[in-house]
Every structure is written in structure tokens, then in C-alpha cells.
Symmetry: C2
Subunit: 380 residues, 2 copies
């Protein structure tokens, strides 16, 4: 599928203007944009500007409440439970992570859990906040039901990513991965690009292997059964129960601790928040002694991993976060590839808001774009 390269500045201006026009403050729009663009800059295309249409529809349908403010409903020196009141996930989450960081700086470690939020972008944005401040960050979220757990034919669990970051040189350890084999966003990208899904990624409503992104996404959205498999695949001999277990840890850490909705009780209906839950755990490395010594120790270890001898001489060994830093540098310089279907969705969003899309996107031919899935994604 064809794509157009845009400068980071152009995408930033578009996203900020879109979210301001929706009614967010200048600061709020900047925060949401920052999360979206980090995904594209890090090469996590699935969670970048291609999701703009999803946020547009969520706001249009009243699933995201524009005026919601996160409320701390329970608190101890090491913890907080926050009700997001169906606000924008990125805003509630930045608030929650800041609170976890403050508490961790004060008492050494902290656990802030959130209920009644919405999709928050890449989990790793929030662990990066901690890591940039010299702290260890762990962040998880649940999502709509998408994972078919070991032995089942119906999706109950979400894609449930785990993100973990810890300072190191020349590049931090920055890990962010769905506990499914692939995240939903990757299926969305494959659908837009008309590509067949990888083997062992998904099953249809009968529980049979399926490589058709459109069909699997349809199963998920209509809750017909079927969905994406856990990392480890379909059988216990390849570790299916492990991916299922990691996904469970996410649900327990965010939905059970917050008293919120587990993934199977999330909602996608007009006027209702999704019920998404998140958790933010922050640890000050100084609780183990000398924070600089920990950083040096980790930096040495990461280099040993890179130097472990390549399986293929032409393919470097990466530590987590390295590819993202390389991608960041390249895209800041050369811009972001946006596929034509996403450009068409951006035009829809601009038109909906009365913004002149040409001032951001130029004169573009989107006749090859696929119809946007999100036009029909919300139940009445």
C-alpha cells in the first residue's frame, strides 16, 4: 500500500489542532499528541497516528469524556487508586504516572492503579517518563477482549501489554510488548496493507487458525469468539500458558487492584467509557544503594548481550529500546511514513472538525484508500 512521508512537525501540528478543536486545552492536546507521536517515532506504527481515527470516533461517540478529570479515590503513601471517569487515557495516565513518580521519590516505590480510563497509546510512553527521571518504571493496561486463552475458543483477556524501562547508557532498557503474539494495532495495519497475518497469530470463531485480518478483527468486534493467541501460541508445549499467564498478571495488576473492569467487561458503545484499567509501578533505584552503580551494571550487561555472537552475521543483536532509539533519530530527521488509508482518515477527521486538511497534508490523492473500519465500529 502506498504511503506519504510527512515531517514530524506537520503531524504534530495536525494532532494538536485536532485535539484542541475537539475541546481539549492546549496543554492537554500537546500531551495526547506527544504520546501518539512517540509511537511513530519509535517505529510502533500500530499505536501512532494511524489510531487518530479511533480517538476521533471515541470522542465523537461520547466514549471519551472531554471534561473528565482523574480522581484519586483511595491513597496511601505507596499507592493510589484513580478513577479516570472515562477521560482520555493519555491524560489520566500521565497524571497517574506523575503521581507514582512523586510517591516513589518520597518513599522509594509506589503503585498507582487506574479504572474507568480509555486507550492510552503505547504503554512504554509512561515508563519512559519514569526512566527519563532516573527511575525504574513498569506499566500495564488491559484492553477490549482480544486474546483467546489456552484451551478456550472465546477471547476474554486483552492484548495486555507489559512495559518496563530502566536507565542505562548509551540507551536505556525500554521494553514494551503485548502479551498476545501481536497487538490488535498490528492487525489493523495488516488490514490496511492487505497483508496475510502470520501463522500462529490468530484463530477464528471456530478456534481454527486464521490469516485474514479482516475476519479476525470482525470476530473480535462482534464478540463472536476467536481472536489473537497469547505469546507462546496455541499449545502448552510452545508456551501458550505462559503468554496467558503474563496477560493475567496485567489484568490482576490493573483491573483487580483498581476494582475496575477486566477486559471481558469493557464496553464499546455510544456514550459509555470503555472501562480500560492501567497500572503504574515506579521504583527509585536508590532503594538498593547507589543508583549510578545500578546504571553502570546494567549498561555493561546490555553490551554483553549485544556482543553475544550473531546467529546471522548480517543481523545485529539488539537490546530492548535500541531499535526504538535508532528509529527515533531517523524519523526526527526524515519524517514519518503515513499510509494512504490513514491519510484518508485524517482528512475525514479534519473535515468533521472544520479544519483545512490541506494545510497539514497537502494536496493528496487518497482514491486508493480502504474505507475506514471505524465508521461502523460503534454500537448504537
Amino acid at each position: 500500500m502506498s504511503s506519504i512521508k510527512y515531517s514530524v512537525a506537520a503531524m504534530e501540528r495536525l494532532c494538536r489542532d485536532v485535539f484542541e478543536k475537539f475541546g481539549f486545552t492546549k496543554e492537554e492536546a500537546a500531551q495526547i499528541t506527544d504520546v501518539l507521536l512517540l509511537a511513530d517515532l519509535y517505529g510502533v506504527k500500530s499505536h501512532g497516528v494511524q489510531r487518530l481515527i479511533r480517538y476521533h470516533k471515541s470522542i465523537e461517540n461520547g466514549c471519551v469524556r472531554l471534561d473528565a478529570k482523574p480522581e484519586v479515590v483511595f491513597e496511601t503513601p505507596v499507592s493510589a487508586v484513580i478513577d479516570g471517569h472515562s477521560g482520555m487515557g493519555q491524560l489520566t495516565s500521565a497524571f497517574a504516572m506523575k503521581k507514582a513518580m512523586e510517591k516513589a521519590r518520597s518513599v522509594g516505590m509506589a503503585f498507582v492503579t487506574v479504572r474507568n480510563s480509555n486507550h492510552y497509546g503505547i504503554a512504554g510512553y509512561y515508563t519512559k517518563m519514569a526512566c527519563d527521571a532516573g527511575l525504574i518504571g513498569l506499566c500495564v493496561t488491559n484492553s477490549e477482549s482480544i486474546m483467546v486463552h489456552t484451551g478456550a475458543r472465546k477471547a476474554i483477556l486483552g492484548s495486555n501489554p507489559i512495559a518496563f524501562a530502566m536507565p542505562a547508557e548509551p540507551c536505556p532498557f525500554w521494553f514494551d510488548a503485548a502479551t498476545t503474539v501481536v497487538p490488535r494495532g498490528k492487525l489493523e495495519v495488516y488490514r490496511k496493507e492487505n497483508r496475510a497475518l502470520g501463522d500462529g497469530w490468530a484463530v477464528d470463531e471456530e478456534g481454527a487458525p486464521c490469516n485474514d485480518a479482516e475476519r479476525v478483527l470482525g470476530c473480535i468486534d462482534k464478540k463472536k469468539g476467536g481472536g489473537i493467541l497469547p505469546v507462546g501460541g496455541k499449545s502448552e508445549s510452545s508456551g501458550s500458558h505462559k503468554g496467558y499467564g503474563f496477560s493475567m498478571m496485567c489484568e490482576l495488576l490493573c483491573a483487580i487492584t483498581s476494582g475496575g473492569a477486566t477486559s471481558n467487561h469493557h464496553v464499546r458503545a455510544k456514550g459509555q467509557g470503555s472501562g480500560t484499567c492501567h497500572a503504574f509501578i515506579v521504583i527509585d533505584p536508590a532503594i538498593f544503594g547507589d543508583a549510578q552503580a545500578l546504571k553502570d551494571h546494567l549498561s555493561t550487561f546490555l553490551q554483553e548481550l549485544r556482543d553475544a555472537g550473531r546467529a546471522d552475521e548480517n543481523v545485529p543483536i539488539y537490546t530492548h529500546g535500541e531499535k526504538e532509539m535508532l528509529s527515533f533519530a531517523e524519523r526526527m530527521k526524515n519524517g514519518i511514513d503515513v499510509d494512504i488509508s490513514t491519510v484518508a482518515e485524517m482528512i475525514d477527521t479534519c473535515n468533521y472538525l472544520g479544519l483545512d486538511y490541506r494545510s497539514y497534508l497537502g494536496d493528496v490523492d487518497v482514491s486508493q484508500a480502504k474505507p475506514s473500519f471505524y465508521n461502523n465500529a460503534y454500537k448504537q
Copy 2:
């Protein structure tokens, strides 16, 4: 391979007498035995009494120091760093988990990290300690290098299990899984049973797929390259980098926080401790409000997972810990299957210590046993 069924009481008496004879106190021997037997009772054969010979050799070769006492070298209200001084992993770890539980009860959550320990049995023993007390427990360890990370041909990371437990009814959530596709112990069992390894489990020193347990274990022990793959297998498209990332989280949480040895710096040599590191994180559910409400919420959710519709009508859907509780009940009643090679190793251990093996094992024919790998496992 043939096996013999022994009562739990017989195995308990054997293990306690063995460890007392080695020089541990009655209480210490009981603690070590408790960890070993829980593995067999939970059906985790790889980490049960089949490892007795490994502990025997570790003690005989001075890798485990009998008189070592764990020392708290750094401490805050939420944390402790413990030096195990190469003592028995089970003793250092029970001490560390108790400390984490005490701190969590006092301040809400706690993180105790351990360096210079040795193999500690199943990670889930320690999270069970927390869970039995109504707390949320997370425990990780590193191990000798065994995992070939994404893109590499040499093992740097350990099998690095993650265990997580949280109270629920009628059975807790109890998850304990190596971040490799399978743990080393499973390869040991397959070698004893002359079975071919599953596809996608391991690679040889050339990085080529390998189904021969003897060869892969040889590669690992001689550090020739090769080893076990991360959960997610060999390529990024099946999620190899995810298993690699979960394994990294273990190293960071235990070896980096404790200032201890990462898996690639572990030692197996006479007179030296292995350098194994562990981490114990405990959270009091009361820091989120009503602990009973959390437990009820989780219990409901676990039931929803069991009721999700079976992929195969004849195969139940399990939540993590359920199989283990069923196994526990069955084995407490009917006893534990011990394969004949393990029985032969137990006879060696009894003979070494001057214990009459017949009083525990009866008159047995072990002529079909394979020679014990551990007789030559330690470098001079």
C-alpha cells in the same frame, strides 16, 4: 522409563535425613524439603526430588556453603539487599521472602533483592508464602546461562522464571513459568526418559534447531553456544523478543538491583557459589482499599475464564494454579512417581552419606537407570 511410586511421607523422611546428614539443622532440612516436595506435589517434576542429586553435588563440591547466613547489606523501609554468601538458595530465599512480607505488612509494599545465592527450587514456593498470608507475591530468579536471545547464537540469559500469586477462591492465582519455552529441568527429565525435545525448544552450538536433550545440555554446560529459546521461539514474528524481554526483566529485577551476577557471570566450579540472584516483591492488597473485595473480584474473574467455552469439549480450561491444586490433592493421597534414574541417584546420595537407602526406598532394581549426569558436572 520405569518409575516407582513413593508416599509423600517416605520422600519427606528421605530428604530431611539427607539434608540433616549434610549438616543442616532440623529446621533448615525441613525448609529445604518443603520446597522440593511442593514441586513434586504441584506436578512440577523438573524441580522436585529429581534435583536432589544436584543439591548433593553442590554441597559436596563446596558450591553451597552449609554455614552461610544471609546478610542484609542495605535496607530501607520498603527494600532490602541481601547477600546470601553462597548458602542454600531455599534458606536464603525463605528468609528474604519473610522479610519482604514483614515490610509489606508495615509499609504496604516491599522489594527484597538477593545476590550470591544458589538454586532455590520453584519460584512459586515463595509467592505461595505471600499468598497464603493474604498478600500478593512476585518472585524471580536468574540461573546459569541457558537462553539464546533473539539474534544471538550463545546463551547469556538464564531460564529466568517469573512467579506471581494472588489470593482467590476456590483456588488462588498461582503462576510460575520460565521465560524460556521450557526450563532446564524439563530437558533433564527428557534426557532421563530418553525423549526427543519438542520443536522450537532449543538450538545447538551452531544455532540450528536441535531435539536432542543430551546435546543441548552438553552445549549449555560446556558453554559451547546454543541453548534453549525464549518463549515466543526463534523469530520476532512469533514473539521471540517478548520472551527475551520478560527474561531481561528478571535479570534487571534480581541481578541489577542486588549488584549481583547476571546469568552469564554465574559459576559452576568447586568451592565457589553459583552467584544466583533472586527478587521478592510483596504487595498488601489493602493498599488498594478492601482486600476482601479484591479477592472476590479476582475469584469471579477466574471463574469467567474457566467458563469461556472450550476449544475442545474434552479438555477443561484451567486458570493458573488450578492444575497444581488438583495435582497436590492427588499426590498427597496416592504418592509421588519417581523415575528409576532418580531413585539410583538417591541411592548414591544415601550411600555417600552413610544412610541406609532401603529404609526409605525399599529393595529396588535400578539396573535400567541412566548414569547420573551430575557425577561429572562440576569443573575442578
